[in-house]
Symmetry: C2
Subunit: 435 residues, 2 copies
């Protein structure tokens, strides 16, 4: 006799498997497949020697060795918090005091993903509203589903989230009385996952201004996910959204060592207002009372020795080359295919490919045709949420050039072109057959 069934929580019942798990699984199971699906980082450039040297340095002295192997604190290693603060402020061209920040406003987390989760836990009750870009980071959407938050979206153009549309949305919510449920505006503002687009500088200032303006009875937090910021390979860095929050009131800035250094450290960080920090740390105390301490010591040592900055510079070259290869391949393969358009990201590792008239969705014809040809992408649809009124576009693909090798990139795009051709031929066949 099977045992009685589990009685799961509401939260668990709201939480489903990530739709892209299926795609990652497919990739693992299909030998020879070129995957533009997984958001993994470039394998060959992982800082193996650097991390080896950092750990060797840490264990060379029993004192530092023991400090790294003991429990750390819930908020994270003080030195690393100082370093992270300095990194972000240097990038923004300010001193910490200019923007009312100290290392007490920094928290270290198990990747930036944990920060996204924890912040949601601090703020969201089921039914609360989160405003995101359309499309946005898939896993953030899963997390909002767990929390029972309702997602409303703002479209992007080539300058990122459209502030006019955000303003209209907020105004509409104000009028309908729903503003009280709006907790967060989420932006992946550097080389967005999934589109590769970046928020323009004037919109950054405007975003904080709108959050402030609509924070009438309660505060609306801007959650700035800068995961890819340090992987810019063209043009000058832009100030963070956080830079426009000089009193440290409205913006939570989060980033990670996963992308510009190593995901194996699974170490992220965030800068936030003190009244967000306190409840977040209380929750983190229950989650784990501190993320991996050894990894934090490694990250700290990599920064202190200069290896971190040097490696990030190296990665910028690695990913620029890969971006170029992908964009060139798209130009070569899809030149005679007017239905295809794609973004050219200035950093990060995502190209967003849009087709007129091809269904790229998980149940459409392109997924099987691409698998047949030996290439995998993530259907753009997964970056969208179905809200009350709209249907979501089903003609977009996320192409990640993070993990595919330089040889695989042009070949993968060729295969994708072949898959498109196969579908078009199939369509012509169908048309012919029905004539």
């Amino acid at each position: 006799m099977p045992p009685a069934p589990l009685s799961r929580s509401g939260k668990s019942r709201r939480t489903t498997d990530s739709p892209i798990s299926y795609f990652i699984q497919k990739a693992l199971e299909t030998p020879g497949l070129i995957s533009f699906a997984a958001g993994l980082v470039d394998e060959g450039s992982l800082p193996v020697e650097e991390v080896g040297a950092a750990v060797a340095g840490i264990v060379a002295d029993p004192l530092t060795g023991r400090a790294a192997l003991q429990y750390g604190s819930t908020q994270g290693l003080p030195e690393l918090r100082e370093q992270v603060l300095q990194l972000v402020c240097d990038a923004d061209g300010v001193r910490p005091s200019d923007v009312n920040l100290t290392a007490d406003d920094v928290c270290i987390t198990t990747g930036s993903q944990q920060l996204l989760y924890l912040l949601g836990e601090v703020l969201f009750d089921p039914g609360d509203i989160v405003i995101t870009e359309a499309p946005s980071y898939f896993v953030f959407h899963s997390l909002l589903q767990s929390h029972g938050a309702k997602v409303l979206t703002v479209p992007l153009d080539e300058h990122g989230m459209r502030m006019d549309a955000l303003e209209s949305l907020l105004e509409r919510l104000r009028r309908s009385g729903d503003l009280a449920r709006v907790k967060v505006i989420y932006t992946v503002d550097y080389f967005q996952n999934p589109t590769g687009l970046t928020l323009a500088v004037d919109r950054r200032a405007k975003l904080v201004e709108l959050a402030r303006q609509y924070s009438t009875n309660h505060r609306i937090i801007v959650l700035e996910d800068a995961a890819y910021r340090e992987l810019r390979f063209t043009g000058a860095d832009l100030p963070s959204v956080k830079r426009f929050d000089p009193k440290n009131e409205f913006v939570v800035y989060t980033s990670t060592f996963s992308k510009p250094c190593s995901p194996g450290l699974k170490t992220g960080y965030a800068l936030m207002p003190p009244d967000v920090m306190a409840p977040l740390l209380h929750l983190k105390g229950s989650h784990d009372f501190g993320s991996g301490n050894l990894s934090q010591h490694v990250a700290s040592r990599l920064i202190a020795s200069g290896a971190y900055a040097k490696h990030a510079e190296h990665l910028r070259n690695v990913y620029r080359k890969k971006r170029d290869l992908m964009v060139q391949a798209l130009e070569t393969e899809f030149r005679d295919f007017p239905a295809a358009r794609w973004t050219v990201p200035a950093g990060g590792f995502y190209v967003w490919l849009t087709f007129d008239g091809i269904d790229t969705g998980p149940d459409g014809p392109l997924v099987p045709a691409a698998l047949e040809a030996g290439v995998l992408y993530v259907p753009g649809q997964f970056g969208h949420v179905f809200d009350d009124t709209d249907s979501v576009p089903n003609n977009e693909c996320r192409l990640c050039f993070g993990v595919a090798t330089e040889d695989q990139i042009p070949e993968g795009i060729r295969r994708l072109r072949k898959a498109c051709a196969a579908i078009s031929a199939g369509k012509r066949e169908k048309v012919k057959a029905s004539v």
Copy 2:
């Protein structure tokens, strides 16, 4: 003008700072203080060389180096899951197939703390009931508070959780119709934090039997927290509670590398039924989509090389010595103090000290007297929860001999004795003054 206030979630509003944070803070601020409060591990025996060698081995080959520095999977490193399964089954004297377990039933987490949190998230809605030992692990109580779970307790005797009392409680809940809200029975069954007590073997079988028997309409999960199991320094290992769940249906077994190896790795693990695993992994996908991968590779290599087993053996000697020092000091100092009783743990690092007629609570006289004398303990009260009817004992202390050095242990106990004397003198003064 200050910004509008945050509007926090119900969960966040339920979550307060851990009461022992204050004590840890006090310890850090008071120079010369001997702390029996913090549950940290022995500093001098941390496996600095071993971890150094493991990382050197990992980075020596670019392939293994890259694998450790890339993202891992949500469930955790397959090799490590195999190893952990084997460790637990070896300790229980069974083959995995005897107890219906494979590596698919193992999950790696950010310390065992994260497992406790995640399992709570899978199962608890506010108002659900969790049965724990009285007293129990402080941080588990905080976590239950976050989840809004209601705690009901079962007393301990020298053989651990009393099964007769558990059975009466379950029966009472059945009669009152509240059984439907009972989700978990939690036991720290080896050298419990905070009492040092261990669950006797016949009670282990009975515990599973009771869970099964009362799982009429839904399953009641036994959460076995075996964090200290590998730190046994007297007597033979006992089979786990999980051992008595041969179909892998009722018991979630969790343990950690923090105690028998290094907390800096912050790597824990759990064995659980498949229908608990699936929703737990969905949630973990939102939390972090996988714990630190480098740490998992380190743990795996330490096990594979035999360094782990050797180090755990070494730690058993370290902690046995410390336990002996503490118990001897208690005998020496409190011989003439009949009001004091203490447990003699067979493993782990906690001694539970009970005084007749001395208020050990955070607002009682012993805390300041002990601080004055230069020693700190955790008031036992924090291990208890106030439920509907009862008041909690305020005459107990948790003494941790984990982090205090061998020199500090006897000196700390001397200071505690001095503090007790000071209070007694104070009491006599008061009596005299009021005569």
